[in-house]
């Protein structure tokens, strides 16, 4: 019996799909494919809710345990993990309704909104580091921005996973400063074309080829970005006196206008005396 191309294609797809019999989940569409597995939308029949189901290519149960350990508003919570009849490990997690950070950046949001997303990512990363967990594969495709502005860091990589070249630190042994590199690369990616030089300098410092010349940790980068937002000088960027004066004027605009108004009033009264 001969099979048509479309039938063959369908059979291949069906064979490739995970067998969820014996679980409480009904398979939905494929959401994405990563180095360690495939993420599907699924329906939890017991609790009647949509979830994301990650089916691992190999026995990477460690990833689920790793993420389950991390409880933070910026990290997608794991609901449950298990083993499929074919031996593959899966875990169910919150299904985030939103878009990936690369698509978010492509929409052209204002700088403040881009930095807000970056800061939320940094907070999640700093928290993970405080528990001894590294991300190892920080990139826009692993950041989700929800419909209501919530930000989630996904795909926490386990040891032995290399990361993505453009966002991966050059050193072989990963540590916190390797994630600082990835965080700097993420900042550079999220910045619009005509981004302020101070922000570009922060990204460049975080992405320094020599780990010891980067920021020591993610909170140090966050502090720099917050200093920029507050109109203060940042450590990574040496300003000229003119740039410093302009920044001061921007930061104290209202006060300078009021002082100018006072000077103008005094000047006018000096030259024009009634009576």
């Amino acid at each position: 019996m001969e099979l048509s191309d479309s039938t063959l294609r369908h059979l291949c797809e069906v064979v490739d799909q995970p067998d969820l019999s014996g679980t409480r989940y009904q398979l939905g569409e494929e959401l994405g494919r990563g180095g360690l597995g495939v993420v599907y939308a699924a329906h939890d029949t017991q609790l009647d809710r949509s979830v994301a189901l990650k089916v691992m290519d190999a026995d990477w149960a460690g990833e689920a345990r790793l993420i389950a350990r991390l409880e933070h508003p910026g990290i997608v919570p794991v609901y449950e993990s298990g083993v499929l009849p074919d031996g593959r490990v899966f875990y169910a997690m919150k299904l985030v309704d939103g878009m990936r950070a690369d698509r978010f950046a492509a929409v052209g949001p204002p700088l403040g909104e881009r930095l807000r997303v970056l800061l939320r990512v940094g907070e999640a990363l700093a928290y993970a580091h405080s528990t001894g967990v590294l991300h190892r594969d920080l990139k826009p495709q692993n950041i989700m921005v929800g419909r209501f502005g919530e930000v989630y860091v996904m795909d926490w990589a386990v040891e032995g996973v290399g990361g993505t070249p453009a966002f991966r630190a050059p050193e072989a042994l990963a540590d916190q400063r390797s994630d600082v590199y990835g965080f700097g690369a993420l900042l550079r990616f999220l910045l619009p074309e005509a981004a302020p030089a101070a922000l570009q300098a922060i990204a460049a410092k975080a992405m320094n080829q020599r780990p010891e010349d980067r920021y020591p940790d993610v909170p140090a980068v966050l502090r720099e970005v917050e200093r920029f937002q507050d109109g203060l000088a940042v450590e990574a960027y040496a300003e000229t006196w003119w740039q410093r004066a302009r920044r001061f004027a921007r930061r104290n605009e209202v006060l300078l206008w009021l002082l100018a108004a006072y000077a103008a009033v005094k000047f006018l009264l000096f030259f024009w005396r009634p009576g």
Partner: protein, 117 residues
């Protein structure tokens, strides 16, 4: 430093400076000391009230508005006492009030939030 203290300090400094500019008006130079004392006290009163307001309301616009209204009112009172130099006293007093109102909003620690439940 709490906002009332910030208001008092800046009100006193700006009031004193504003009073000192009376030196540029030759016919009042003989009263410099009393003008400076009066202007300093006026600034401190504006600062005190603006600082108290800033503890209650966190708004730069309202701070500037209240400061300028208070500055204008106290300057009017001072000018009314002398029955002269209304414009020279009230116009700068108005702007100094606005500056003090702005500074009390921007500087100093706000009042602690009271929990009712």
């Amino acid at each position: 430093m709490n906002k009332i203290f910030v208001g008092l300090i800046f009100g006193a400094i700006l009031g004193a400076i504003d009073g000192a500019t009376a030196w540029f008006t030759p016919d009042v130079r003989t009263m410099m000391a009393s003008i400076m004392v009066g202007s300093t006290i006026k600034g401190m009163l504006v600062g005190l009230l603006s600082g108290w307001f800033a503890r209650k309301v966190d708004s730069v616009q309202w701070g500037i508005l209240l400061g300028s209204v208070l500055g204008l009112a106290f300057a009017y009172a001072v000018a009314a006492l002398q029955q002269d130099h209304y414009l020279e006293i009230m116009l700068p007093g108005f702007v100094v009030g606005a500056i003090v109102g702005f500074l009390t909003q921007k500087m100093g620690t706000p009042a602690p939030v009271k929990r009712t439940s």
